[in-house]
C-alpha cells in the first residue's frame, strides 16, 4: 500500500509536467491574445505590452521561463488584471470556492447516500420513486434555472437571504451551497441506489442475512461498503471540480471564486491565470484520484494495489 502511494506520488511529477506543457501549448495554439479588443493597439504599443510580459520571446523560451517560475512557486502576473498576480488571485479566491464547495460536497454526499439507500431498500416502492424523482429533477434542471428561482423565492420575495454577495456572513453562503449541491445529490443518490440494489442481491449479502445478522448491520457493514465503490470513483474528480468553483453559481450569486477565473481566463486568453488555475486543479485531481484509489482498495478487499 505504502509503495503504491509512493509510486503514484512519483508518477504525479511527470503527469503534472505533461499537463503544464499541454495546457501551455494548447493555449498558445488558440487564436487571439489577451490584448485584442475593439481597438487594435498601435503596433508600437503592442510591442511595448508584449515586451512587458516577455511575450515577444520565442515560444519555447517563454515556456522555459514559465517552467522555471512555476518550480519556484511563482505563477506570474495576470495579463488582464494588471496589478494582481496569479498567486494573489488564487490566494484571494480559492478560500471562497472552498467555503462553498466543501459544505456543498458534504451536504450532497450525506443526502445523496441517504436518498440512495432509502431508494434501494424500498426498491420499486414509493420511497424509491420519490427519491428518484427528486434525483431526476436535480439532474435535469440546470443551475442557471435553480439559482435564479431560489433567489426569487428566498431572497426577493421572502427576504430571508441576501440576493448576492458575501457581505452577510453565513447567510450569504446558504443559497450558493444548496444550488451547487443539488445536481450532485442527484448523481450520488442514483449511483448509490444502483450499487446498493446490486449488492443487496449478491451472494455474500444473502449469506450475511442467512447468518441471521441484524438488517442494519447487513446494510451498513456489508452492502453499503461495496455499494459505495462506484461513488468513490465518481467523487474523486467531482470533488476537484466542485472546490475549484462554478462559473454559474459565482456569477449569479456574485461570489468571488475560482470558477470564473477558469472560464473567463480561457475566453480572455489570460494565459497566466488559466495556467495557474489548471495547475491547482491538476494537483487536486491527482491527489483526489489517489485518495479515491486507496479508498477503493480499503472498501473492496478484492482489489490489490500494486
Amino acid at each position: 500500500m505504502l509503495r503504491f502511494i509512493l509510486r503514484r506520488l512519483l508518477v504525479a511529477i511527470p503527469t503534472l509536467f505533461v499537463i503544464v506543457t499541454a495546457t501551455f501549448f494548447l493555449m498558445r495554439a488558440a487564436p487571439g491574445n489577451p490584448f485584442d479588443g475593439e481597438r487594435k493597439l498601435p503596433p508600437a504599443i503592442m510591442k511595448n505590452i508584449e515586451a512587458r510580459y516577455g511575450l515577444d520571446k520565442p515560444l519555447i523560451v517563454q515556456y522555459g521561463d514559465y517552467l522555471a517560475d512555476v518550480v519556484r512557486g511563482d505563477f506570474g502576473p495576470s495579463l488582464k488584471y494588471t496589478g494582481k498576480s496569479v498567486n494573489q488571485i488564487i490566494a484571494e479566491n480559492f478560500p471562497t470556492s472552498l467555503k462553498i464547495g466543501l459544505p456543498a460536497l458534504i451536504l450532497a454526499t450525506f443526502l445523496g447516500i441517504l436518498l440512495g439507500v432509502i431508494a434501494a431498500l424500498k426498491h420499486n416502492r414509493w420511497p424509491d420513486y420519490s427519491a428518484m424523482a427528486i434525483a431526476i429533477l436535480g439532474i435535469c434542471i440546470p443551475t442557471f434555472v435553480t439559482a435564479p428561482l431560489l433567489v426569487l423565492i428566498f431572497a426577493v420575495k421572502l427576504s430571508w437571504l441576501p440576493i448576492a454577495g458575501i457581505t452577510q456572513g453565513l447567510k450569504s453562503y446558504i443559497l450558493p451551497v444548496i444550488v451547487l449541491s443539488l445536481p450532485l445529490i442527484a448523481v450520488i443518490s442514483r449511483l448509490v441506489r444502483a450499487g446498493m440494489i446490486e449488492t443487496l442481491n449478491s451472494n455474500y449479502v444473502r449469506t450475511a442475512r442467512a447468518k441471521g445478522l441484524p438488517e442494519h448491520t447487513v446494510v451498513i457493514r456489508h452492502a453499503l461498503k461495496t455499494a459505495l465503490l462506484p461513488l468513490v470513483s465518481y467523487l474523486g474528480p467531482a470533488c476537484a471540480a466542485i472546490i475549484t468553483g462554478s462559473l454559474v453559481v459565482e456569477k449569479i450569486f456574485g461570489v468571488p471564486g475560482l470558477g470564473k477565473s477558469f472560464v473567463l481566463g480561457a475566453l480572455q486568453r489570460d494565459y497566466t491565470v488559466v495556467m495557474g488555475v489548471v495547475i491547482l486543479y491538476a494537483v487536486l485531481v491527482i491527489a483526489l484520484n489517489l485518495i479515491a484509489d486507496v479508498l477503493y482498495a480499503v472498501l473492496d478487499p478484492r482489489v490489490k494495489l500494486t
Partner: protein
C-alpha cells in the same frame, strides 16, 4: 381532494412568485456606525484602478470618484472646473492655459502642475503600454512619443509655475474640456509614482487621491471600498462617507439587489427585461439616449460588395422600427446616419427618403435592386454574417429574417468577441456588426473611423480620398461652425456610398433606488458619486 391540494399549492406559489411590490426589508451590507454608505453595482470587475491602464466604464466610475482632472463632470456629465478653476484659449485655438486651485492629495502633499505633466507624459510613454493612449493624440507630439519616436519631454504640456498648466494641441479640438474629464488625462501623485513605481503606487495603502474618496481595499470578485477623503476641497459637501462598488456581473442579480434595497444603483441591465421594469418598477428604471451608434458593415474590400445596389438593398430591407420598438424596446431611436443625435456643435443628417416608406415598398424596391444586380431566386445572395459573441436579444436573428424576405440568405456566425474584432481588423470576414460609443462628444470621434488612414480600426476598409480630404480639412478649421459644416459634408458623402448600415442609437440604462438623489441621466452615463445623496441622509 387532489385538485384542492393542487390549487392550494398553486395559490401558495403565486403568492411567492406573484405580486408584492415595493421595497422589502433590505438585506444590506454592514455599514460601520457613523458612516453613510452608498452601495453601487458597477457591472464588472475592474481590471485596474490605474487611470492610465483602464478603459471600462465600470473602472471609470471608481477611478473618477477618487481622482479629479483639470476639468470635472457635473451631475449631468458636462465639463465644469475641476482641479483647474478657470482656463484660457489662444486665438488659434491651439494653446490652452489652465489655472489650478489650491488643493492637496489625500496624504497632505499639494497637487501641483507637475502632477498633471507627469500624468499626461505617463499615459503616452511607450513603456506603460496604455491601451487608451490614442485618446490624447490631439495633444502635440503625443502620437510620435507613444510610438517611441520622440522622448516624453517633447509632449505639448508644461508647467508654467506650480499652479499653471499649459497644453499645446496638434490641431484645434473644441472638445478638449470633455477630454480632460476622462481618466486618461487625470494627474498622478508624482511623489508616490516616483517612490513606488508604475505598478505599485496604485495598490491599496499606496493609492493617494485628489478627489472626494480614497481607496481602502479591493478584493477581486467581491468589492472595492472607498471612504471620504477629508482633504478634498469640497469634503464637507459630500453626503456619502463610504462607497462599496460591487462587480455585479450577473445583470439580473444586480437589478434585483436594487429592487430589494440591497444596492442603491446598478448598471447595466438585460435588454429584454426593460419592458418588464418599465411596467412594474417605473420609478427605478432610468434610461437616456447615449452618444453611440450600432451599425452593420460590409467588408468593402471584397468584390462581392462592389455593387452599390446590393448594399442599398440590404440597408433598405432592415426593419429598424421593429428592431427598436419590439425587439429591443428600450426606446432606442432608429439610426440612418453614423453620427448620433445629440452631438454638441453638430446637426444630425436627415434620414434618406426611403426611410419613410412602408416596409413592403422598401422590400419591393430592394428586390428590384437585387435582381438588377443579378441576384434572384435562382441565384440568391448568400453570405456569412460574423457577430461579436452571442446575441440574446434576437436583434440579428430579426435582421436575418428581414433579409430572408427579399431572398437573401445571411448565415449568422457567432464568433468570440475578441476574435471577431481581430477578424474585422485584418478584414478576414464578409459582413460584420459593431457599436461605437463616443469617447468624447465630437462628430470627429465617429467620422474618423471610416478614414482610410485609420487602418485596422476602419473595420469595413472604406477608402474614399474625397472623404479623407474633407476630414483633414475639418481638423485644421478653428471655427466651430465651419468645422461642423465640413464634417456634415463628409458624412453625407460617406452615407451615400453605403459602406455601413446604421441600425440604432444605444440607450444607457440604470436601475436606481428612487431614494437616491443627485444622479442625473446623461448621454455619457457619467455619474460622479459626490453629487449623490439619500433623502434620509440630508442634513
Amino acid at each position: 381532494m387532489r385538485s384542492a391540494l393542487l390549487l392550494t399549492a398553486l395559490a401558495a406559489a403565486s403568492v411567492l412568485l406573484g405580486c408584492g411590490r415595493g421595497e422589502q426589508k433590505a438585506v444590506r451590507a454592514p455599514c460601520p456606525s457613523g458612516e453613510a454608505c452608498l452601495e453601487m453595482g458597477v457591472g464588472a470587475e475592474p481590471t485596474s484602478l490605474d487611470p492610465h491602464r483602464s478603459s471600462g466604464t465600470w473602472e471609470r466610475q471608481i477611478i473618477s470618484d477618487m481622482l479629479v482632472g483639470l476639468t470635472d463632470a457635473d451631475a449631468a456629465g458636462e465639463p465644469v472646473p475641476g482641479m483647474a478653476t478657470h482656463w484660457t484659449t489662444s486665438a488659434d485655438a491651439l494653446t490652452w492655459t489652465f489655472f489650478l486651485r489650491d488643493a492637496k492629495w489625500s496624504d497632505g502633499v499639494p497637487v501641483t502642475a507637475d502632477d498633471f505633466v507627469a500624468g499626461l507624459r505617463r499615459i503616452v510613454k511607450p513603456e506603460l503600454a496604455a491601451e487608451y493612449a490614442a485618446l490624447v493624440y490631439p495633444i502635440k507630439n503625443a502620437a510620435p512619443i507613444n510610438e517611441g519616436k520622440l522622448p516624453p519631454e517633447q509632449l505639448g504640456v508644461r508647467a508654467i509655475d506650480r499652479r499653471t498648466v499649459e497644453i499645446t494641441l496638434e490641431h484645434p479640438a473644441p472638445y478638449l474640456p470633455y477630454l480632460l474629464l476622462h481618466h486618461v488625462a487625470f494627474p498622478v501623485p508624482k511623489h508616490m509614482v516616483d517612490k513606488y513605481g508604475d505598478d505599485d503606487w496604485m495598490k491599496p495603502g499606496n493609492y493617494v487621491a485628489n478627489g472626494p474618496y480614497k481607496l481602502v481595499s479591493w478584493s477581486l470578485g467581491d468589492r472595492v471600498v472607498v471612504v471620504k477623503n477629508p482633504l478634498y476641497w469640497e469634503a464637507d459637501k459630500l453626503c456619502f462617507t463610504r462607497i462599496h462598488y460591487y462587480p455585479t456581473e450577473d445583470r439580473i442579480s444586480g437589478e434585483r439587489q436594487v429592487l430589494s434595497g440591497t444596492l442603491d444603483t446598478h448598471t447595466p441591465l438585460v435588454q429584454n427585461r426593460i419592458a418588464y421594469l418599465r411596467r412594474e418598477y417605473p420609478q427605478y428604471l432610468r434610461t437616456h439616449q447615449s452618444l453611440s451608434t450600432q451599425y452593420l458593415f460590409f467588408n468593402n474590400t471584397l468584390p462581392m460588395w462592389k455593387d452599390r445596389r446590393v448594399r442599398l438593398a440590404l440597408s433598405m430591407a432592415v426593419d429598424r422600427d421593429f428592431m427598436t420598438t419590439k425587439v429591443r424596446g428600450m426606446g432606442e431611436p432608429a439610426a440612418y446616419s453614423f453620427v448620433p443625435p445629440g452631438m454638441p456643435n453638430y446637426t444630425p443628417l436627415p434620414p434618406p427618403e426611403w426611410a419613410s416608406w412602408p416596409l413592403e415598398k422598401r422590400q419591393a424596391e430592394a428586390r428590384r435592386l437585387l435582381s438588377e444586380a443579378g441576384y434572384g431566386p435562382k441565384k440568391p445572395l448568400k453570405f456569412e454574417f460574423m457577430m461579436r459573441g452571442y446575441d440574446p436579444t434576437g436583434t440579428y436573428a430579426a435582421v436575418q429574417a428581414d433579409w430572408k424576405q427579399i431572398g437573401v440568405q445571411a448565415v449568422l456566425n457567432t464568433t468570440e468577441t475578441q476574435i471577431a474584432y481581430q477578424n474585422y481588423q485584418i478584414r478576414d470576414y464578409v459582413f460584420g456588426e459593431a457599436g461605437w460609443v463616443a469617447d468624447f462628444p465630437d462628430a470627429m470621434n465617429f467620422l474618423y473611423l471610416l478614414d482610410s488612414k485609420t487602418g485596422a480600426h476602419n473595420y469595413g476598409g472604406y477608402n474614399n480620398p474625397a472623404y479623407d480630404a474633407l476630414l483633414a480639412q475639418a481638423n485644421l478649421e478653428p471655427d466651430v461652425q465651419k468645422r461642423a459644416a465640413i464634417l456634415r459634408q463628409a458624412e453625407q458623402l460617406m452615407l451615400d456610398d453605403i459602406p455601413i448600415i446604421p441600425l440604432f442609437t444605444y440607450v444607457t440604462s440604470n436601475v436606481t433606488s428612487p431614494k437616491l438623489s443627485g444622479m442625473v441621466e446623461n448621454p455619457g452615463d457619467t455619474h460622479r458619486a459626490r453629487y449623490m445623496c439619500k433623502a434620509e441622509l440630508k442634513k
